[in-house]
Subunit: 306 residues, 2 copies
């Protein structure tokens, strides 16, 4: 089956809300190629371009893509098969008022650095330093709950959004709760490379083409509260909150739910087991809400949708 | 050269202070075998034993070990060669008032669970679940700065202490700043297995024998502010603070210092590079101060003591 292309011209959004109009509608099981803009939409094209503030519209997410038959209570599985860079350079920026070390000595903002792509070498260059290309999707999510006001694409929450998670990459599958008919998936804000934490506020922001397959899991017994990433060796709930401490609590509760779904354990026992295997990981510490994941090794969890 | 054994009978401490009396003195380059007690010193020997509160004396650290010639401004390198379990079971516990989900629904405290060791299988068992043995040292550190009051072995800080870091394990090297003559190294509180985060407040706490070699690095040009772990593929500064946010800032500043020590980069440029490679990791979120590390891949950092 050929892949259906979906481009920003088909549709793009800057806010995940409960009432999104589909840009396109696809079948469950369909394979797509989604084109994404760089998060700053070309505003930074040289080291001398500067971003004086975070734009009102940032992290354009291509979509929304309605998936035929998806209904609230279902889960939308997004299997990421490939992420290809389609620009000859990404960019890293600092912006005043943003980033982990904003205002610290020696940290200047706004500053920009282009990171040219050497496709043959599989690297981007930061000055004279070669950095391995390892793309991830920064912003990916679905329409929000009825009782929520909507979240800009700068913010992560239970619908996904600006999760900035290195594990949202080729070879992995991301699962989202379906809150609205069709699910209404959108994505953008890809990076050529990013560190866990995204400390300065960006990775190497770059336009991409993403090959993926979407599939509806109908009314699973397991209640998915938030996004969940499946990697080669672990299941990782993704929790976003005001503080890292709160996000850790949510992610740990989700990990406990995964363990209890599979093993005959009390809450306390699953909590103890979660303190022995896998563990907490940092996705990003800079978006207005921060994101943490809790890895549950596949050795101890076959997954919630079997 | 045979290994010098050092046991809790030689000495153990419950507080890292500026004025520790050495239990033993060894030469730089000497290989040791350090015996450690379980962190609760045998208080929990069955599932029905309960820990009503954190003992005043917990995480007994064998030592302190003075290293001949170590002086303030030096760095003490501790190369961990092996950690052997010397009990037939570890234990996981919850304690009221302690742990990430303390007070949450479904989380009971105090509770205890013994985790028997199956040495042939290389596992501990948690109920009917096999968990791979993967030991780490929970508490390891040196005498504190002159201007500090001392820290109990329940607390991590710039001297080390209760770092509860899975990377402090066989095959890795931990570097500590030397604040006092002799350095005065002590360690204990080992785990048969532990998740990043140590969410319930413990791993599988167990007595061990640790093979290690200590070496003094005299007055390196690089100023080490806090513990640093060298793994097979990364350098990881370990920062402890009141909140995860503060710990992330410290660990990121340390990562920037490592990058700038090696590359001709401004602070801002190193900050940007730190947002592209490696990244923030969680050590533990439960000790009175929390601990975060920032991995700097060896691909980008040969290390500060070359």
């Amino acid at each position: 089956m050929s892949r259906q292309p979906i481009t920003p011209e088909d549709g793009k959004l800057y806010e995940f809300t409960p009432t999104l109009e589909p840009a396109v509608t696809v079948d469950s099981g369909e394979s797509l190629t989604v084109e994404t803009l760089d998060s700053l939409e070309g505003a930074i094209r040289s080291d001398s371009d500067r971003l004086e503030s975070i734009p009102d519209e940032v992290n354009a997410a291509t979509g929304p893509i309605a998936v035929e038959g998806a209904e609230p209570g279902d889960v939308l599985a997004v299997d990421i098969e490939a992420i290809r860079l389609v620009e000859d350079a990404g960019r890293v920026v600092t912006v005043d008022g943003f980033g982990l070390l904003d205002g610290h000595d020696d940290i200047e903002a706004p500053r920009s650095r282009m990171t040219p792509v050497d496709g043959d070498a599989g690297t981007i260059t930061f000055g004279d330093i070669d950095v391995a290309i390892d793309p991830c999707i920064g912003t990916i999510g679905v329409a929000t709950r009825d009782d929520e006001p909507g979240y800009s694409t700068l913010v992560p929450h239970d619908h996904g959004g600006n999760l900035d998670t290195t594990d949202i990459t080729a070879g992995n599958t991301v699962y989202f709760p379906v809150f609205q008919p069709g699910g209404l998936l959108a994505m953008g804000d890809c990076k050529a490379a990013m560190a866990d934490g995204e400390m300065c506020g960006t990775g190497s922001e770059i336009a991409t083409e993403i090959d993926l397959t979407v599939e509806v899991i109908e009314q699973p017994d397991f209640t998915l509260e938030r996004p969940l990433v499946e990697t080669a060796d672990a299941w990782k709930p993704l929790a976003s909150a005001e503080t890292l401490e709160e996000a850790c609590e949510l992610a740990n509760r989700d990990a406990i739910a995964l363990l209890r779904n599979e093993h005959d354990l009390s809450g306390t026992e699953a909590y103890m087991l979660s303190s022995l295997v896998g563990g907490l990981e940092i996705s990003q510490v800079v978006d207005p809400l921060v994101t943490v994941r809790n890895a549950v090794p596949k050795a101890h969890c076959g997954g919630p949708f079997q």
